[in-house]
Amino acid sequence: MKAVFERTSGLIDRETHYCPGCTHGIIHRLVGEVLEELDALEQTVGVASVGCSVLSYHYFNCDMTQAAHGRAPAVATGLKRVLPKERLIFTYQGDGDLASIGMGEIVHAAARGENITVIFVNNAIYGMTGGQMAPTSLLGQKTATTPEGRAAQTQGLPIRVSEMLATLDGASYIERVSTHDVPHVIKAKKAIKKAFQNQKDEKGFSMVEILSTCPTNWGLNPEESMQWVKDEMVPYYPLGVYKDHSYKGDGV
């Protein structure tokens, strides 16, 4: 028998704290596989943000530092600017961390064309703290802080981060992908690999926004959650490449 699919050495061999069916687990695996395939684990320093993935430093099999809520892109900038060029720096952030408290940091990291890789997990909710509204929560979406469903007049409209950051000349590669079925998981991995390869090739700021599930706080089972991503999130957050040019070297 020949193994066709095995556990990646990019992840430390242990159970995770994530809820059953939470696609953080899939995304962690994809990042681990990519780092393994790029033979970059020894070169990599990851920055964990604050949210469900705060404990990601227990899982990624590389050096990790843990940032204050919203500040991972700034911590990553500090690391990237002082470590040798070969080092790969990535942040792993949720939508509350990146698009709410940390919006300033991510916008300026992109505007600076910071040569880092940002893994942005968009599950349209604050998971760790019990299901509050996030900047990416959809209209009508019931959360702990929008019990009647998110209403535009009071809570404003969900933010399409990839499109927004793509307007920044400093950003080199921005793609939104999803994990709601096998073909999309495969595509997500391709995007993550490209985002890390870009950094290796010093092409500047790369971010992959990954639509993800939160069965516990959506009040859906894992399978229904995948369906919700497909039926509700993808229409509002269209998948695709929003920026793909090498800012550094090939000119703007």
Binding site: M1, E15, G21, G25, I26, V185, P222, M226
Partner: protein, 75 residues
């Protein structure tokens, strides 16, 4: 065995069950040490080693194998 489940890590989330094209995965009737019903495959011979289950698994529970084809053994 074509598909092996590390039952201790399984959280019984059912995604592999949902995404297996051959529909041969189901949750066992026993509980693992975390209190979840782990996924398992009885009819291993029906598995095509496509690894859809392993790709959809959030907890790296699944390892997938494929029988060596005769030709490969010779070379």
């Amino acid at each position: 065995m074509r598909v092996v489940f590390n039952e201790d890590y399984c959280k019984g989330c059912n995604l592999c069950v949902a995404f297996c094209p051959q529909a041969i995965i189901h949750l066992a009737n026993r509980l693992n040490q975390k209190g979840y019903r782990p996924a398992e495959v009885i009819e291993q011979e029906k598995c095509t080693s496509c690894a859809a289950c392993a790709r959809m698994c959030p907890d790296t529970v699944i390892t997938v194998y494929r029988p060596e084809r005769k030709k490969e053994k010779v070379s």
